[in-house]
């Protein structure tokens, strides 16, 4: 499977950004490996663990030094005064430059890895299932390439990249799938996208809205159902047949339906 992309980021289009992109490739052996898909969800877990370790070390170090100072330099007599050092110019500059380089080095290490993972998030494999999503108060409405429509239910085949091209019919929403570590806002007037790699058939994953969208915001949820490729094909054809007679798969949250039925503002 080739790691091709037809969703060129604006970054790649400009000259300056091409240099940025090259820098990202240099820092990331994975990005140029070429043969396999890099699953952003796995990459996320790895980078999270690395950054967590990084900040834990810094935090523990600072906390221990502070705690040691507090014990070591506690006041022993009431007329005692501190005798902190008067820094020479060289020492004062040193206490700026050295920490600055340490912090910047850590920043750049984190930034380089973050960038490389970001490329994985934004470059969608060419071999993929592309689904249109229209978000609205308060449902996720998906349309498959063959015209099949579902609501709050996204059925996908295992082992294939799934890409959502998203927009909204009213306010800003955000399609979040915690298990796949991915979210992106959808809004009127723009088309945004995200992709993820479902691995295991038979699993269900929560989809939920993470951009405040009004009264029923917390009930704007659905699910991703992963099927084996064969089961998925069968399901898709079955849906196509059913929808010719006018039945849609998926369901609306009963509380949202109630709100609408009661004539409450949505």
């Amino acid at each position: 499977m080739h790691r091709q992309s037809d969703t060129r980021t604006p970054c790649r289009a400009s000259g300056l950004a091409r240099i940025c992109g090259a820098a990202a490739l240099l820092t990331s052996p994975l990005a140029s490996a070429g043969e396999t898909i890099r699953d952003p969800a796995q990459g996320w877990d790895e980078l999270w663990r690395a950054v967590l370790l990084d900040i834990t070390i810094i935090g523990v170090l600072f906390a221990l030094v502070t705690a040691w100072f507090l014990v070591r330099y506690r006041r022993r007599s009431s007329d005692e005064e501190g005798r902190g050092p008067v820094l020479s110019s060289a020492a004062a500059v040193g206490w700026v430059v050295v920490p600055m380089f340490v912090f910047l080095a850590d920043d750049l290490y984190i930034a380089a890895n973050g960038w490389s993972l970001w490329n994985a998030y934004r470059e969608v494999p060419a071999d993929r299932l592309e689904v249109q999503l229209e978000a609205g108060m308060y449902s996720w409405d998906y349309t498959y390439p063959n015209g099949v429509k579902t609501q709050n239910l996204l059925v996908v085949p295992a082992g294939k990249a799934v890409m959502l091209r998203m927009t909204s019919r009213d306010v800003v929403h955000s399609h979040f799938i915690p298990d796949f570590r991915v979210k992106e806002d959808s809004m009127p007037g723009r088309v945004t996208y995200l992709w993820f790699l479902p691995r295991e058939a038979g699993r269900e994953h929560v989809v939920t809205c993470t951009e405040y969208c009004g009264v029923m915001h917390s009930y704007m949820a659905g699910k991703v159902v992963v099927k084996s490729p064969a089961e998925f094909e069968a399901w898709l054809q079955e849906q196509e047949r059913l929808q010719q007679v006018g039945t849609h798969a998926g369901e609306q949250d009963p509380r949202v339906a109630q709100q609408a039925a009661a004539g409450q503002p949505l």
Binding site: P10, I55, T66, E81, W95, W118, A221, P265
Partner: protein
Amino acid sequence: MSIKEWIFTTDHKRVGILYLIGSIAAFAVAGIMALLMRAELSGIGPTVTSNPTTYNVWLYAHGAVMILGFQIPALTGFFANYCIPLMIGAKDVAFPRVNALSVWLFYIGIILALLTFVVPDPPDVLWTGYPPYSTITTGNTALYTFTVLILGFASIIGGVNFLTTVAYMRAPGLTWNKLNMFVWCTLGAFVMQLIFVPVLGTAVTLISLDKYLGTHFFDPANGGDVLTYQNLFWFYSHPAVYVILLPFIGVVFEIVSTFARNRIFNYKAAVYGGIGGIVLLAGEVWVHHLYVSGMADWMRIGQMVSTLMISVPVGLLVISLVGTLYKGSISFQTPMLYALGVIFLFLIGGLTGIPLAVTSLTVNLSETYYVVGHFHYVMAVAGTFAIFGGVYYWFPKMTGRMYNEFWGKVGFWLTFVGVNLVFWTMMDVGVREGLPRRYYDYAQFPQAAEEQHLMSVGAVILAVGFVIAVINWIVGAVKGEKAGDNPWGSKSLEWTTVSPPPHGNWPSPPVVAPDWSPYAYGRR
């Protein structure tokens, strides 16, 4: 002493105390909102209210009032007013009547914010007011717009006043490099307010124009753009975090130096590198609030790097703070406990911000409880601890009396335990479950129920701690022991006058000696 004297006062200390009273009242209201939300979230399904809109109004009021009605006015209103003229040896601020106007506007803003609970259609647009929701909701977006405009205007005229005061009214011999850290920090904050508040004012005005007068700034169906608002809003509102951060770090510097009886470690690095660096970077990092908002990919990367670079000036400030403890003579009265609390809370909050600077990590973390936990640690709770510590610290100066040390410490430890229980758990549930913020209910995340319950218990503990502190102040102000003019043995200028200082602060303006500095300890 009549009420009228207080309302029409132009004395910077009284204006400051009016700011303090107003902002503590705002803190109480916003705190009650937080408790109501925690009660609602303690279980799945409706608990306190069955109407999500009611919850959303609490959510709006909690955020807007805490930031615009409590933290910014307490830090740049109360502390700046009370301390800056005293710290620079001035009789008052440069424009005392403009100062009085700013506190009046602040009270008008607070009243507007409180109207939320009176009008039939309270705003439900969060403190962010994102369109198109804010332009189509049945909630009262205009109230939000006017609250922001009034409080923003109060802040701008305060900023002009203090920049002038510090530039022209320093005591003879008090050079720039002898200014208190708090004065430097507040100057930095006011510079940012002057640059960025107008952008916020523009943004919130445009949503009301869209909603009530039919313009289409944010309406894509008529050529507008939804994302423009988010950019304008965060172009102010990220710097706003530093408008809160800088003065509260300044307060902590004052407390730490006094209670460690020690000079500031590497003062110039903290001032020019730390404060200057933050002011310079403040306007180049807002996109980290928009990492999943459909911004151009290259912008999401560029500002990842500038956001991470914030660690440099912040790191310099922290090194200076911790360095001030080195070879100090540290005592642990209540103000110092709060200041040390800030150091630890800020350490946790600052470091947990690093993953949120990374675009790709934020794809998962944004809009979850992790974010809420992080910014409460770094700004909300650290800032509030600094405010409480600062009030305790200058309490003898303001009232001439002493608070109760025992209850001061009890209050501190309760809040310290409470906030960690709430916000550590919050970050944990955000990462492990991906629980989204701003949720009235969370039936799709049943596994989060237990932690939600724990957070609600923590919220009660921390609230009790804060109530004890406020009662301690009231009792202390009325019948505390006489404190003397300089109970802490500080070298800073505000402690050289009597407590409480009279109108005009000193009988004759102070002149500072060539070898004086507010931190000239260790020269016996």
